[in-house]
Structures are given as structure tokens and as C-alpha cells.
């Protein structure tokens, strides 16, 4: 019964997401029109100048000579057919380009989420359990420092310390291309490359979730149900693990769900610093090449990604909190 309702809830949410994603596409399309210049001028500029007729010819080839609304209509039609268009810059279909870059980004995002939420929850609980002891102070101070330091700087310092001085981790890339690792060896190699970018990207969120978790655990430990549990004769450990932890997780999950979108944005910087071949880096490059088809494709995919993650977070919420009813009827 509950499972069925959950599936119906997910289906509803997916259907509701379609207009949202289309809205994002239209908005992005119109916003990009505001940027001066187009792919034709960039190509011409890179060639060291070109006669106006040639630029016009390029525009006609790219379909940039049509009125904006016609371009938008064509683009929307293609999106609905899941055709993301052609990147003239890279001379390849957009979909293929993006899918190539998607999984490194997902890998980085997934690793970051696990480290920041998992680590944040753990550190937050440790700090809250030893409130006003050296453990709490140490964690809180470290959190404030991590919180206040810019991402790219952390990345650069980590490279300096762990790659250049200590030579523990590679400086850039996702794998050692010339080593031609296969199977398990390749997994280990990628994991090795993943460490520094993940730490860089997760530190800020780790600090954030640590602070949030510490605050909610402290709040929940003061709640009446915790006093009830104490009055039952439970140990402090059992009270925290059985009663407080689950209640305190709810705000952290909410926050994490909201921040997945921001995580995609943050990955642009980290992917650039570590030369991580992900979507962020691709978006950065295509923006400067005025490769709007590719850029719009990336935006479209990120919008889908955010929608899917939000649905996942909602499902986790439903599983964690019995008070949330899905499907309406009581």
C-alpha cells in the first residue's frame, strides 16, 4: 500500500517536473541571447578575422540568422525529441559530448555528497555529544575555518601540499592515460585521482553540515521525547543513537537536497583547478566559445539532474519520517 503510493508519488513528481525543466530551458535560451557575440563571430575572430559575407554564411549554416523566437521554437521541438543539437565548435553531437562528461561529474558529486553528509553528520554528533569539551571546540573551529576559505584556494593549497611536496596524490586529471590501466587497477587509479578534488569540493559542505548537525542534535537532545527516553532508563548512547539521531537528520537531508544544485555550480571551479574532465569544465569552455547548443544542453541536463535528486531526497524523507503522507488521502 505504502510502496504503491510511493511509486504514484514519484510518477506525479516526474510529470510535474516536465514543465519545470522546459521553463528552465526557455529561460536559459533567452538569457544566453543577452550575451554579446555568437559562435560565428568567435570562429571568425579565432581565424584572425574574416569577411562579413563569410560570417553571414556561417550564421546561416548554424541557423543563427533566423529570428530568436523561431530559433527557440526549433530548439524546444528538438529537446522534446531528446535531440540536443550539434556542437559546431567540437564538431560532434551535443548529447554524445555531454554523456562523455556526465559520469566523471556524477562520480565527483556522489563522492562529495557521501563525504560531506556522512562526515558532517558524524562530526556534528561527536561535537554535540561532547559539547563544550576540547572535541567540540576542535571540530567547531575547524568547521569555521573550512567554511570561510574559498574553494579554489583550498584546492591549490592541497595540490601544493599533497601533490607537489609530498607527492601522495596526482595533481590533475581523472586517470593516468598513458598507463592504460584495466579493470580493478583502473578503479584504484581513478579513486586515487578523486581524493583531492573530492576533499576540495566537500570541505565547505562538510563544515556546513557539521555545524547544522551539531545544532540540531543539541536541540533534539533537549526535546521532551529525549527526556522521556531518559526517564525510561536508557543510556545516553542509546538515546542519541535511537532517538535523537534520526530526528536530527531531517534538517540535514533537506539542506543537502537543496544544495545539490549549488554543488554542480561549485564543481566548475574544482574541475578547472584539478583538470577534472567533467560537465563543469565543459560548460566553462563552451561559454567562452559561444557554443550555445552545448551550453544549453548542459543546462538542460543539470536541470534534469537537480529534479531527479530532489525527488530522491523527498523519497528519503518519506522513508525517514512517518508523518509525511504521500498521495494525499489519509
Amino acid at each position: 500500500m505504502r510502496g504503491l503510493r510511493l511509486i504514484s508519488f514519484i510518477m506525479t513528481r516526474l510529470l510535474q517536473a516536465i514543465p519545470v525543466v522546459l521553463g528552465v530551458v526557455v529561460l536559459n535560451f533567452l538569457l544566453l541571447q543577452l550575451a554579446p557575440g555568437d559562435a560565428a563571430t568567435v570562429l571568425a575572430g579565432e581565424a584572425g578575422g574574416a569577411p562579413p559575407e563569410y560570417v553571414e554564411q556561417l550564421r546561416a549554416r548554424f541557423g543563427l540568422d533566423k529570428p530568436v523566437l523561431v530559433q527557440l521554437g526549433l530548439y524546444l521541438k528538438n529537446i522534446l525529441l531528446l535531440d540536443l543539437g550539434f556542437s559546431f565548435r567540437n564538431n560532434a553531437p551535443v548529447l554524445g559530448l555531454i554523456l562523455d562528461r556526465l559520469w566523471p561529474t556524477l562520480l565527483l558529486m556522489g563522492a562529495t555528497l557521501i563525504v560531506s553528509v556522512g562526515g558532517g553528520v558524524m562530526l556534528g554528533v561527536i561535537a554535540a555529544l561532547g559539547v563544550r569539551t576540547w572535541r567540540d571546540h576542535l571540530i567547531s573551529i575547524a568547521a569555521v575555518i573550512a567554511y570561510a576559505t574559498p574553494l579554489f584556494w583550498i584546492g591549490l593549497m592541497l595540490i601544493l601540499a599533497f601533490s607537489i611536496r609530498l607527492d601522495w596524490f596526482p595533481t590533475s586529471g581523472m586517470e593516468d592515460v598513458v598507463a592504460f590501466h584495466e579493470g580493478w587497477a583502473r578503479v584504484v587509479d581513478i579513486a586515487h585521482h578523486l581524493v583531492l578534488p573530492t576533499i576540495t569540493l566537500s570541505l565547505f559542505y562538510l563544515a556546513l553540515y557539521t555545524r547544522l548537525m551539531r545544532a540540531t542534535v543539541l536541540e533534539q537532545r533537549g526535546a521532551e521525547y529525549a527526556t522521556t527516553a531518559r526517564a525510561k532508563g536508557l543510556t545516553e548512547r542509546a538515546i542519541t543513537l535511537r532517538h535523537v539521531l534520526r530526528n536530527a537528520l531531517l534538517p540535514v537531508i533537506t539542506m543537502a537536497g537543496v544544495q545539490v544544485g549549488a554543488l554542480l555550480g561549485g564543481s566548475v571551479v574544482v574541475e578547472t583547478v584539478f583538470a577534472w574532465p567533467g560537465l563543469g569544465q565543459l560548460a566553462y569552455q563552451s561559454l567562452f566559445a559561444r557554443d550555445f547548443n552545448l551550453l544549453l544542453g548542459i543546462f538542460f541536463l543539470s536541470a534534469c539532474l537537480v529534479v531527479v535528486v530532489n525527488i530522491i531526497v523527498d523519497v528519503i524523507y518519506v522513508l525517514l519520517d512517518p508523518r509525511i503522507r504521500v498521495g494525499g488521502k489519509a
Partner: protein
Amino acid sequence: MTGSKHPASAATLADPVLEIRDLSVALPAWADRPLAVKSVSLTVGRGETLCVVGESGSGKSVMARSILRLLPEPHLRIAGGQILLDGEDLARADDRRMRQIRGGEISMVFQEPMVSLNPLMTVGRQIDEILEVHTNWSKAERRRRVIATFEDVRLPEPERIVGAYPHELSGGQRQRVMIAMSLVLEPKLIIADEPTTALDVTTEAQVLTLLKELQTKHGTALLFITHNFGVVAEIADRVAVMRYGELVEYGPAAEVLEHPQHPYTRALIDAVPSLVPRKHPKPDATAPSESILMVRALEKTYGRAASGPNWLARVLPGLGRGRRSAVKAVNRVDLEIRRGSAVALVGESGSGKSTLARCLIGLEQADAGSAMIAGDEIVGLSRSDWRPLRSRVQMVFQDPFASLNPRTKVGDIIARGAILQGVNPETAMDQARTLLGLVGLDARAAERYPHEFSGGQRQRIGIARALAVKPEILIADEPVSALDVSVQKQVLDLLDDLRRQFGLTMLFITHDLRVAAHVCEEIVVLKNGTIVERGMTADIFANPQHDYTRTLLASVPGRNWQRRGHPEAPAPLGQ
């Protein structure tokens, strides 16, 4: 034992379970007094009920929690004295021993069952935990015991409730779960901290009966914390009265209730509104008065039934949020109030009494029906059409702490309504000062902010604010339910005075029949959005017609307790 001038005389009890000797609990340095509990000595005998009574801040809850050492240390800590459970001093027991005692030998029931239960855990599991900690029974044995205890507290379908979450139960059922939790290991002593305060009066009566019954059955001692003398009259064997952390009176219930020795106890008991309905006011010059409020077939429905299923559910049945069950908060209510009368609107939570009031004051838009204030229709008015009518109806709100803007000076709060109605600001401010005097506050209060006042004073400010626009009808929505009993009485008397002075018509919303009897000549009983009975308070109290009214009257705690100095008290009601 005669009198209770000497607390020690009451303390010598044959078979004490719990003996508290000179208990002091220290407050943190920033508090307004050094000790929350000041050398209190109490005894609870085996199988008896000791009620500890006091107003907010009296230290009664702190005292109760310190027995199980559930104080939020280090802010509050036991500063001295002994807590002897069968001779063993709990104030000096180690953590391990305390955990054995908690739930095993002494258990506790808290005030708010909703927040006292973990919302994310089934209630069965929450009780099972106690057995898991204190016994080495198998899972099946524990489950049998939980279900047996649920049957004991008369929860319906125990097998189903074991797997239910707290939010799936009603308030009364949740409190039964809490009681089951306290009973499951048959402890020597149950400490109940205001266990019925958050419940409706009929539910309260059921829970009190249940507690009393289970206590007799299991021979458990009960330490019952309350602010309500009605409850004391209902269940107490002995009573202890606390004020500012000190024990001011201590003795057998009958003694304390009938012949209170300490002036504070006397004041508290006198402040309890009597269930004796007030006398009819002499029909004065304005009689026979015309009707000032005329409500016909008024309806208000919450939920989305009116709009039907949403578009998604229409296109793809089975998807979408669909039809949410609609609640008829006010269901075809007819009501007529004559100028100058005081009518009590009585009902339990969810009866629609507040919704009705909010419709009459324009905070909610009624769905259907008609309501006329002195001949002007108010149902269906737009916001701008309402504005000129605002000065006719005003409301005094329930929570004096939340209903005054904390960033606005009291004078501005009071004057603003009049200024909006077009009164010159200077004049409005002068009026505000006069009004402050009328409600018993200093005119200088106008320059201060709400947080500088106590709850009762704030409610006076709320009343002054309502009167500032010279309304004809005053709607008071539970104006005293957030106040201590001694303050309650003052505010009620003030409302009564002002009503006569200004010739106001008053619609008084309350769940408390004592309060209704104290201030209103007429009474309207509301249940599930429908009026079930109406009439003169005296007639209804003497001879209730509807079953629900009878249940309500029979549920008033301490209804048979006739106060001293009230020889005209009627025969026990609702029997």
C-alpha cells in the same frame, strides 16, 4: 490531624515510598532567584496520591524532575537535601543505579504527549524499549506485555496501536500510551507532571478516572503535579501547595480544600471560578434589547473538497494529490446575540468555536450563510468593505505573548486602530493612556514595550487595544487560558466590569465551563461545527438537554467540590 500549620505533622506517614527531605535545587546565576526549590520536604505513601499544586514558576515541575534527576544539568542542579526511595538516597545514587530506577521503580508521565513521544518511532517500540532495558525477556514476551498494558489503559485495538506512530493517535490515546509506558513495569511510584493540562475536558476526565483506577489496581503511589484545584479535588489524598519554590501548605486533601490555612492557598482556591452560574442581571433600561449579531446558516469548510480533484488527478486518475478530506469547521450555525448580553461559546478543540469567531471578525471568509452586525451583512465583504465595520467588532486573543508586536510600544499598539479609523494621532494617544488606566495599568505603560509586562498585564493591554476603536461587540477568544488561575480571575473580573461600563456585547469563547459560568449569562455549546444546545447558563447547568452537554458538565474536574462560602452551590451535577 488538624490543620496543617506544621508541615511536619503531615509528613509523618506510616509507610512512605518516597521521602523528600530538605530538597533544594539551584538555579543558574542569571535567574531571578537563587533556588528553584527551597528546602522542600514531602512524603508519598504507598498507594496514595499526593498532588503538588502551584502556579507557573512555583518550582513544582523542577521538584518533580529532580526526583529522577532529569534536570538540565549543569544549569539546574540539586543543591542539598535527600530524596529517599525506600530509604535509598537518589540524590547521591550513581548513573547506573539511576538508570535502573528510571522506568523500573519510578516512572514519569509528561504534560504534552505529542512532544513527549518520539515522532519517528512506533509507540509499541517506544514502550518495548523499557522492557528491553530493564528485563531479559524475549521479544515475544515483551510484545505480549506491551499489548496487555495497552489493554490495561483501554486503548482500542492494541494489536494495531503497537505499530502506530504517535501522530496517528488522538491526544487522549497518546496520553494513554504515556500512561501505559509508565505502568508497564509496575513501578512503586508514578510521577505525573500536568498530564491532563493539554487535553480536552472530556478526555481529561477519562484519563483521570483511568489513572485512579489503575492506581488502585496496582497499588502504585502517584505524585501528581497540577495547577488545577478541580483536578486536586478529583484525585488527591493529600495536597502540597508550592509558591516561589517553597512549600506553603501541606496536608490531607479535604483539609486543604475546605479549610486552607495559608493565605496564598486561600487566594488560589478563591480564584477558581465557581461552577455556580451567575445570577441574571436585572433587566435594565435598555431591555428588551434588539439583536446586534444575527447569524444564519453560516458555513465554513476547510480542505479542498470545494474545488474537487486537481487537474492532474482528473487527467490521470490515481495520480496527483486528489481530494483531501474536507472538514466542515462551521456547519450551518444559527446564532442571535442581543445588545448588551454576554454569550459563552463553549466547545472542545476542533468544535469550530474559533473558526466561527474568525468568520465574525473577518479574519476568515465564510463559505455560505449570512451574518449581520447591527443590520449590516458581513459575509462576502471585500477587505475594503470590511474596513468601516472593523471598529464595530474587536477581538481579544488567546495568547498575550504572541498577539502583541514586540517591536511596538504599548501606546502605539493601542492607538493604531483608532488612528486607522481616522482619529487624530494626538487624541488617539490620549485615549490610549486613559484606556490603560481603565484596564488597571499605569498611563506611563504607553511608553514601554510588551516584553516588560507579565502575561496578565499583557492581556490587559490586549483588552485596551480592542476597546480603543469603541467596538459594540467584543469577541474574546480564550482570553484567560494562557494565564495562571489567580491572574485569570482578575482578567475575567476586568472584562466583566468593562462590559457593563461600556454597554458592550460580549461573545466569550472558552473550553472551560467554570469560566463560562463566571462571566456569561447565556451559553452556546458547539460540537463538530454544530450548535448542540443553547440557553441561559443557569438553566443549562441545572438541566442539560443534550448528551454532549451532560458529558461536558460531568467532565469538569472537581465538579462536586463545593467551595466554602458558597452555600447556594447546586447539587452535584451530571450524575
